[in-house]
């Protein structure tokens, strides 16, 4: 299984008045990590969109186990958990670099669509994209 790693340095704007990272930032980091994941496979999500395909989120889950703070260095580990002709499920784990503790896990389910957000069968319309991501699951 292909796993990609993305470094995040916590920004001040990402903290809230509890002094910790606001929970709404993790889905944004997952997305940045997804961008990296696809780039590390040798493709780019920008290019996928240029070819007329999109991967909008249809389901998001986060489990918050610990808190990150301003200036913390984090690593997001990303992999594909499931792949079908119409959907992709990514899985994420966020670690704190200082003590290697797992602070958050997440999952995002995406549907393949065209530019008008209508579902498409990616295997049929872009077999090379399907193969590239499918290979990463094994």
């Amino acid at each position: 299984m292909f796993i990609s790693e993305t470094e995040i340095i916590v920004r001040y704007a990402e903290t809230d008045r509890m002094g910790i990272v606001h929970h709404s930032n993790y889905p944004i980091w997952f997305e940045a990590a997804r961008t990296d994941f696809i780039k590390n496979l040798g493709m780019s999500y920008s290019k996928i969109e240029e070819r007329g395909f999109m991967l909008p989120l249809i389901e998001l889950t986060c489990r918050y186990k610990g808190a990150a703070r301003y200036e913390d260095r984090l690593i997001v580990k990303t992999c594909i958990r499931q792949m079908s002709y119409t959907r992709v499920t990514f899985y994420y784990e966020v670690f704190k670099c200082c003590d290697n503790s797992l602070i958050t896990t997440g999952e995002t389910v995406h549907a393949w669509t065209n530019k008008n957000l209508k579902p498409v069968n990616i295997k049929k319309h872009a077999p090379d994209i399907f193969e590239l991501l499918n290979k990463a699951v094994l």
Copy 2:
């Protein structure tokens, strides 16, 4: 069961290059709706924090069924789904005002903690807060 309604007008900054609301905004709207929910019960979350209690998120789920766009008027309906001495689960439904379609549902699980993010039994330490929220479940 007590249900509160919160109006959201989609901001330009909340859209992404797909032309729709970026998925990371829904958790922020859920939070704004939670703030309203507690205020509509006659308390305020600011006051709860002043008394030394916090409700950090420990789990978040969103299901995206439709897309909202810039200037859309949305209604978030919020209720408490489950209450224990240490946890609260909120449930949200986001509707588009123009056609009353359900575009997103979500759930957030929170733990009661003190200022240092250590778990507390809210029934024991602030029975009035517990009762107020517990009453809203029925």
Copy 3:
């Protein structure tokens, strides 16, 4: 001079670890207030974009005089300060409702462009839009 008022309730996600609103939220509120301003004139910015015109920011200034906090009710007062065939300058004042204190002022300069972000003369290409906004300056 036409002045529009927009209510903002400070969201938790908008605070930072100083306990106050992060400065990057004011430009977003200015934009929400601009959306309101145009709607209150009887047009909508969505419609302007549908007709092929855009108003990207080319300059932004904020002066922070006070701090807003979670759950604070604010009013953004918005007006057009200057109008030419190719540019619009909006001016904003943010007040705290509780004590009517002025906490932030701002200015945004925008250029009229087409969908490809190329400058256009709005008076020539959409005289009705120009007149509507120009009337608001007087």
Copy 4:
């Protein structure tokens, strides 16, 4: 004059429905670049806050000259333009890596305060912090 460089990869969430980076992200990137600047001087802004000093923004200016898009690699160049016992002015330039074009410039003015946001004379209360930053201006 000390100049620090910070790499930014444009995130999807940072784009808006114009297809470009929303203007409100630049102040956040300036802040991330400021964090880097101070770290590159051998200090950390987290540590400065731990010692009881804060640097809230009192003025922000951005000039947008070009557009950045999703997945673009940017460099923010940061320096201190002015230093007094009570204020610091940072200056930023954002370049696109692909063609080295300057797309945005910005300036932020900050006041030295204590934890209660009351102004302090940093030269008097923390001469080492003052010297470190002051040296960077020359």
